[in-house]
Amino acid sequence: MPERSRSLRDRLAERGIDRVLWLLLPAAALLGMLFVYPFLYGLGLSVQSQEGTPGIGNYLRFFGDDFQRSTIAKTFALAIPAAALNVGISIPIAYKLRGPVRHKRVITTLLVLPATLGTVLVAEGLIRYFGPIGWFNQLLMAIGIIDAPLQLTHNYIGVMASLIITGFPLSLLLVLGHASGIDPDLERAAATLGAGPSERFRRVILPLMLPGITIAFVLAFVAAFAVFPSAVMVGNPSGETRVISIAAYQAAFERFDYPMASAIAMIMAALQFAVVGSVFLVRSRLYRGSTSGAKG
């Protein structure tokens, strides 16, 4: 018998299954308990009424109510342009910075700052800086571009500004991190073969950068999709920036309607997965090979 059990163990070990895999258990158990279980629990909660009667009433109520349903459009109206803008500006800058550039370390260090500060602090700063008597309006009035202060906070512009300030550095760092791994020899080879600068960018560098760009877009979108503190602080949380996360929060913690809050959370998850999934679908059709020039 011991011989037989040993051979089973050997056979499993051949397939990579041995005692080392026990090391995965704590992490997997933690995420099972704190991520998968709450999610399934929320899913179950979302298909019943507050009294516990099963049914999809929460979803029907959400989509039947104009005020609630419009949060989806408001969220996308912020998240898609913010993600596209953040990643779009990052591409040419990352292209320029990808090689050994002077002060690169300083630039990247500065870029980390807004991400470290977080949305709450940026929103607080924006209330002052972009406010009617803030420096930004003072400057515009001093140089005579405008006569009266612009309304830049407590509306769509304020939230968009906060999404760019916190999101753009993250996108640039992600795109740059990926672009820096592209072997410059590939571009030199294209140049040797007679490709001009724009052709090199279009046909060599951009395709190689695309996997990094798609990842950056996905993360930028997810971050912008969940905009909550800035939508409340520098937005208009009962009007044009009443995003879906505010609707979910209000259901859970103002009306204590947990089934409804869970339903909204599930809708949020489905929307994020839909966008993330379609981006990854496009990505899977892109070139995903080596970004190095070496053979093998």
Partner: protein, 288 residues
């Protein structure tokens, strides 16, 4: 750029003087200037006696810091913040590092599924799973407690540690472990004498980055904390939210203290890691 220089180094950029370079410098410059003004405004206002509509404050004072410390129970908030931060760092390293080791060293059936489990929390905005998580924690009477806040913050932190450390461990030569075993070292001894010393830089970097993320993590803490478990960022949100009854200078004094707590670990972290790694996973610098 001479023709000879161009043929020698065909792809190098022309010293940052082309039109596109200037445009890019302007874009980055405008961004950083606005960011600096935004931060400076907060800092200056926290020291202002009063400031309304003029270019600079009417006078400077430090009394808002004392006021903020008093009114917002800053000491309690700081204690909670660093308790949560330290607990999440230690626990996520203890749980994440072994999992990263297993993922780095073994190929096994179902590995993609395990990876998906570890990736999913990073592909969803925290508030999405935060609401069901908070609801579930309330069921078990864990929400509104320090334990609940720590548990909630582990959900994004553990996958982050795993993603950061897996490529790092892959770079450690497995032969070192084999050699130690050949020389008779037991598994715990291999870990203590070989792996942990070699992993130390990665563990340190991962720990600091987790701390930075926990300090800035608003949503999960906000959803799971009761009044006694607010971290600094959540307390800041509530004071801004209740603005109007508090002087703005006191709010900004609190914002400055929050900035300092975030900057200290960041400055330490930057000694060990490349800034791009703070947002992405550790890159294999020497990949050929």
């Amino acid at each position: 750029m001479t023709i000879a220089g161009a043929s020698e180094r065909p792809v190098r950029r022309a010293g940052g003087l082309s039109l596109t370079s200037i445009v890019l410098v302007v874009v980055l410059g405008v961004f950083f200037l606005n960011l600096a003004a935004l931060i400076l405004g907060v800092v200056l206002n926290s020291f202002a006696t009063s400031w309304f509509g003029s270019l600079v404050p009417d006078g400077l004072t430090t009394r808002w810091y004392a006021y903020a410390a008093d009114t917002f129970q800053l000491l309690d908030v700081l204690r909670v913040t660093f308790t949560v931060g330290a607990a999440v760092v230690v626990l996520s390293l203890l749980i994440g590092a072994p999992a990263a080791y297993a993922l780095a060293r073994r190929q096994f059936p179902g590995k993609r599924l395990v990876m998906l489990l570890f990736l999913l929390p990073m592909l969803l905005a925290p508030i999405t799973y935060g609401i069901p998580l908070a609801t579930a924690l309330y069921q078990f009477d864990l929400a509104g407690s320090l334990a609940g806040v720590i548990l909630a913050n582990l959900v994004p932190s553990v996958p982050f540690v795993i993603l950061l450390l897996t490529p790092f461990i892959e770079q450690i030569d497995e032969n070192l472990e084999r050699a130690a075993r050949m020389c008779g070292a037991s598994t715990p001894r291999v870990f203590a004498k070989i792996l942990i010393p070699l992993m130390a830089p990665g563990l340190l970097a991962a720990g600091l980055l987790v701390l930075i993320r926990v300090l800035a993590m608003f949503e999960l803490t906000f959803l799971t904390a009761g009044p006694g478990e607010q971290t600094l960022v959540v307390a800041l949100y509530y004071t801004v939210f209740a603005a109007g009854i508090r002087p703005t200078q006191a709010i900004d004094a609190m914002a400055v203290i929050y900035m300092l707590t975030a900057f200290v670990p960041l400055l330490v972290a930057l000694r060990f890691v490349n800034p791009t790694q703070i947002v992405a996973r550790i890159k294999q610098e020497n990949v050929r």
